[in-house]
């Protein structure tokens, strides 16, 4: 499903967070959304997911504006994975993954055979089958994150929107998750902090800075040492690795002001 965003702006309590962003994601593309803390990644993702109403601009799924769509219709197209969404209570892993079937279920009926089969497949895809009956509070951070992604897959969406899904995951699970995202037919828009993961697995990268889209292109085009200096304020060198992906080596944070943080401490 093609996702098109035009002139999108969003403000939180009068403070502009996302400013005039336009993007076009082709069906099946895996796109990484990068930017430092507070650059508007989460807000942009939420606007694209239909969770926030933009103050200006439009979001289109497959060419159709979602402004008038209700939550249920959106949920049948797009699955959204929040950053560390948590619950207390005795939900089992299978219950959490089963939530992904909510948009397909009528008020009157409980889960049917299709729902159960889809949930089982989603659990298996994320290697959670053995944990299906485990209560939520007993899971590690990484297991919770994988359960959320299984839940998103159980939604059988056309597009997956994920807000820093690799948080809390160990290296192996990070790589497995990114491989999964890269291999899906679904359109994927994923906010990431790890530039190396983004460079390795995404077809395309978007770079946000102060709510504006400052770069949009292939990983090699977007990740340059000048951009890392201006946007992330780090001193980094870029080389191309054996697989042709950009490889980043950080030399340290850039001090934009002349004062070192320790100066002035008497």
């Amino acid at each position: 499903m093609r996702i098109t965003v035009e002139g999108l702006s969003w403000a939180a309590a009068g403070t502009p967070v996302v400013r005039d962003v336009g993007l076009d994601i082709a069906p099946g593309e895996t796109v990484g959304l990068l930017g430092p803390n507070g650059s508007g990644k989460s807000s942009l993702l939420r606007c694209v997911a239909g969770l926030r109403v933009p103050s200006a601009g439009s979001v289109r799924y497959g060419g159709e504006t979602i402004r008038c769509w209700d939550a249920r219709r959106i949920a049948r197209h797009v699955a959204f994975v929040e950053q560390s969404a948590d619950a207390d209570g005795e939900l089992r892993v299978a219950d959490v993954v089963g939530l992904g079937r909510t948009p397909f279920r009528s008020r009157w009926r409980g889960p049917d055979a299709t729902d159960r089969a889809v949930v089982a497949a989603a659990l298996e895809r994320l290697g959670l089958t053995g944990l299906a009956d485990r209560p939520w509070p007993s899971l590690s951070g990484g297991e919770r994150q994988r359960a959320h992604i299984a839940r998103a897959l159980a939604q059988q969406p056309w597009a997956l929107l994920l807000d820093e899904p690799t948080n809390h995951l160990d290296v192996k699970h990070q790589l497995e998750l990114m491989e999964l995202l890269a291999s899906t037919e679904q359109t994927v828009l994923v906010a990431l902090h790890d530039l190396a993961l983004a460079a390795r697995y995404c077809d395309r990268l978007l770079l946000l800075h102060h709510g504006r889209l400052v770069a949009d292109g292939s990983p090699a085009d977007v990740l340059t040492s000048e951009r890392l200096a201006t946007v992330f304020e780090v001193d980094a060198g870029l080389t191309t690795d054996a697989l042709g992906h950009p490889s980043i080596s950080y030399r340290g944070p850039l001090r934009l002001s002349s004062r070192s943080p320790l100066e002035g401490v008497s």
Binding site: M1, R2, G28, R46, G50, L51, Y61, G62, G63, E64, D70, A71, R72, R73, I74, A75, R76, H77, V78, F80, E82, A85, D86, A87, D88, G89, E90, L91, R92, A94, D95, V96, L99, G100, T102, P103, F104, R105, R107, W108, A113, T114, R116, A117, V118, A120, A121, R125, A132, D133, L153, Q155, Q156, P157, W158, S183, T184, E185, Q186, T187
Partner: protein, 385 residues
């Protein structure tokens, strides 16, 4: 544009690359175009949590409720046999039975029976309201009185009893109902700008409750004598004694309606577990659903409180106890909470009228005395204590 229904396959040009035309046997989650396929593969066994199938569980508790109602009609200051209950029923069904003496008949039919039925209805309503509000506010401590409804009801009742507002026309029940609805109206008005955010609901409810509690105390201190104060205190602790057929009829209409609406929101209540954004991304109209559920719980609670006072603890502990039995999914949790709440209140009311017979204890005292140990037991078995 991909089609909106599962059963319709999207046009290959607009959707993701079409998968093969032959239906794969397994669910391929990574190929959304495959989601039109009906799954025929053997389904995994249902969760092993509930040892009993759910319909059996619900039916079982329903039978316990029926037995409890029948048994507790007999219990009280005056002993009534099953034969007497049968005779009271038989006469009204036009059967050929010897009528009871008028006094005994009135005791069974006009006092005991409405009272037991009221306890069942109120217990069901409070337990479900508690479960719903715990999910809506994502707060394990939420109970039906979180919305300030009971404080509003007491202000209304006190206004009628002490100040004589509305004279005889309103009665305590009418005054309490109006007070409860006024308090809830104030809550909704305060939430109008911010929207029903889960933390705001709880905080605003507490504020509204405090305001009306203060008004009640002020009225009592300013103008009530000792007797009125005691009467009002008794009412505040809750008692089934004022239940009559008219109030039972109102509850018998409102409670099943409210419970049905809440049950139809089960999917939404489940989806609230991870907060508003996740619920919304699962297709729940969060604002509308929350408002609807607040209105339903407020009306159910108001009707209950107006007749029998603010009976505490049922709405807090019953949902927690039932969750232990059924798991947290609201499709099963809500009906089971309703039934268990009904059983619980029927028995606590039976205790309230028989422990110190002929004197009667407020039901709220018994619910806490019985409820606290039960609750601790549940917590302990869950390993939370």
């Amino acid at each position: 544009m991909p089609a909106d229904r599962i059963s319709v396959r999207p046009a290959a040009s607009a959707g993701p690359a079409a998968s093969g035309t032959s239906a794969p046997a397994a669910v391929d989650l990574l190929r959304p175009a495959a989601r039109g396929i009906t799954v025929t593969a053997a389904t995994p066994p249902a969760g092993s949590r509930a040892a009993l199938p759910r319909p059996v569980l619900v039916l079982g508790i329903a039978l316990v409720l029926a037995a409890s109602v029948a048994a507790s009609v007999r219990i009280g200051a005056a002993d009534v046999g099953y034969a007497d209950v049968g005779r009271a029923f038989g006469v009204r069904l036009g059967l050929d039975v010897t009528p009871l003496p008028p006094l005994a008949d009135s005791l069974v039919w006009d006092l005991r029976l409405p009272r037991v039925l009221m306890a069942a209805l109120v217990g069901a309503a409070l337990a479900v309201c508690g479960a719903v509000l715990q999910a809506v506010t994502r707060n394990a401590l939420a109970d039906p009185y979180l919305l300030g409804v009971s404080s509003g009801a007491s202000t209304g009742a006190v206004a009628v009893v002490v100040l004589g507002v509305g004279a005889g026309a309103l009665g305590v029940t009418g005054g309490a109902l109006i007070g409860a609805l006024v308090a809830f109206g104030l809550l909704l008005a305060l939430l109008r700008r911010s929207g029903p955010d889960s933390v705001r609901i709880a905080l605003t409810g507490v504020v509204v409750g405090q305001l009306f509690t203060a008004l009640t105390s002020l009225t009592l201190m300013a103008s009530a004598d000792a007797d009125t104060t005691r009467a009002v205190t008794h009412w505040l602790l809750g008692s089934m004694a004022p239940a009559r057929w008219e109030s039972v009829a109102v509850c018998a209409v409102v409670t099943p309606l409210g419970l049905t609406v809440a049950w139809l929101c089960s999917n939404a209540l489940d989806a609230f577990a991870f907060g508003a954004d996740t619920a919304s991304s699962l297709g729940i109209g969060v604002r509308g659903t929350r408002t609807l559920l607040l209105v339903v719980t407020a009306v159910l609670t108001s009707v209950a409180v107006a007749t029998v006072g603010a009976i505490g603890f049922v709405g807090l502990i019953v949902p927690h106890g039932v969750r232990f039995l059924t798991g947290p999914r609201h499709r099963v949790l809500l009906p089971c909470s309703a039934l268990v709440g009904a059983v619980f209140l029927v028995w606590t009311d039976a205790l309230a009228r028989s422990v110190l017979a002929p004197r009667e204890l407020p039901a709220g005292v018994i619910t806490a005395l019985v409820g606290v140990p039960l609750f601790l037991l549940v917590l302990r078995r869950r390993g939370a204590l």
